[in-house]
Assembly symmetry: none
DNA sequence: TATGAATGAGTCTTCATTCAT
DNA sequence: GATGAATGAAGACTCATTCAT
């Protein structure tokens, strides 16, 4: 299971290292050297597995999106068995707002997509996914509104020491999801 | 009024050039050389007026925040004379969602603040300012909710070809601002 | 006859690919990767069949020299049955001056020999061979003069859009081959 | 007159170093590092004065062409006062055939022009210049023939230990320049 | 035998920053 | 005060070559 002579594992480790680094240094701060050091592979390995740094960045963002997909599955599960959907979503969101690394990563994703159009589909994954999950409980418009609000709350939490608390979230989400 | 032999004007031109460049190349893409070329000043001028590149970036982001302050004053004016506050806010927001450069700049601001804590107060300017403006019309909680939603809509527009339209915005904002 | 599992054929394909590439990228532009891709063989094959890149280059230049040998045989045949040797040589040369790839390859050969003395015998093949062919018709001194002139004409054609035309060549070659 | 803080001199030294290196390592062997070391300037200086390596190479080849222009002026002088033009040209050529570095440099020039069309005008300088010089003494056709022959002799000398001797050159050049 | 993986040296290039003028 | 020159560190990327399999 070691990384040496195990291409898939090696590649995975490089991507994982890049992913880990994004919240620390940002997408723009990623360098071959930094990733290689974090992944504990030789410098040459990063260019062997990824033709360009852009490719490596894209792979890292894809991995981040994939992690988010798992995240979404958990949210879907919780909401499926929820008595009060907006309240449950508020609780889940409140927990999310305390995961600084994840929030920073997603903001980096949005910023990267702002400059590299080919990343936009990737950057849509989270919000579209959440909208879809919510649409199982409320109409598509209400679902979109709520998902958009969640992202706004993330942006707010990113630069405020006191993010919106669960009550505030619940109030807003209930308003957005209840209205026709 | 020429830039030569006019320190204040020169400095202003450099900052303006940096500001202009942010939507094009991102905060991470700013370099002394690039800014100097755009501002049409000698390379030395950029380091003469700003001790480090970080200082120049900060000045550019401050300028962006200042532009936003003007923006906010306009929104305050429009809302002061509005019959229907949520609808007017929706109209203003819909217009904002078509200003790609401005949105990209703000997202760069959030991303930068995610990595450089000293920029967080600056990054709060827009959302806090908008909250304050709205608080003149609805309670502070509703104002915050609405402002947060607007930022979520910006994020959405950044990566979607079809941003939320004015009706969708109006519906959501009305829900958020009407509920107690 | 396929290349797989047929060492000789595989080697031949590699050399041929390298030879093809010389006019395109120059001797200095040859790389294992480039040759492997062009020959459609795995990267490892190029180092398996040739200990070093220099060996591969040498093999490619040898192949180019061998192609030239065929070329020379044709010229010998044409001249053997020629009524007017200088005029026939002029016609053959004029045709050569339109074969850009071949000229570039030979110039690369000369340039390579300028830096790698071990290649000099190879680089002499063309001119010595031509001299020998011509010596069957005129004396050795005249043969050498004519061969030297032909190479000068190639160099001229390499950097001029209008190479020497057949009449000019015929005049010069007649003068060189007729004089004692 | 030191190179420090003397841009023109600095640039000159870099170009001169590059020029010196061409016969040793070939145009393809030039690197920023090599040139910087030979010129005894920091690595950064080579890229400061020449945006790309290609620019540096071009500057070096231009310098080589300029040296050749001086060379040509000398030949023009010698021929102007010559009793026997072909014999004098043969003597000058024989001397040239012993200047290995110069010959290698010119062959590199031709090879480089073979791959970089923008260098072709530069590569024509020598032969066109010589043709012009000779045209003052014989007709333009004879002048071109003779110049072409000289270049052929250079190519021959490049890969033969025994270049054409002065007598052989004189015979050939007389034949070429005497015929109408 | 054959080959994909691996890597370390080396390439061009960019750039923040310093500093002499 | 102002600026062009200067440079060393660092970055992305390429590649010959080695080697485990």
């Amino acid at each position: 299971m070691s990384a040496a002579r195990n291409p898939a594992e090696r590649r995975r480790r490089i991507v994982e290292a890049a992913c880990d680094l994004i919240p620390e240094v940002g997408v723009g701060g990623l360098t071959h050297r930094l990733v290689a050091a974090r992944a504990d592979v030789p410098l040459g390995a990063t260019t062997y597995y990824f033709k360009t740094l852009g490719d490596l960045v894209a792979a890292a963002l894809e991995a981040a999106a994939e992690l988010t997909a798992e995240w979404l599955r958990r949210w879907a599960g919780e909401l499926a068995s929820a008595a009060d959907v907006p309240a449950t979503l508020a609780a889940l969101t409140a927990a999310y707002l305390r995961e600084r690394d994840r929030m920073v990563t997603w903001n980096e994703m949005y910023a990267a997509a702002g400059h590299r159009p080919e990343l936009r589909p990737l950057a849509r994954a989270w919000n579209d996914g959440l909208t879809e999950v919510l649409a199982a409980h409320v109409g598509p418009e209400a679902a979109r509104r709520a998902a958009v609000f969640v992202d706004g709350a993330v942006l707010h939490a990113l630069v405020n020491d006191d993010p919106l608390d669960q009550d505030a979230l619940a109030g807003a989400l209930a308003a957005l999801m209840t209205q026709p």
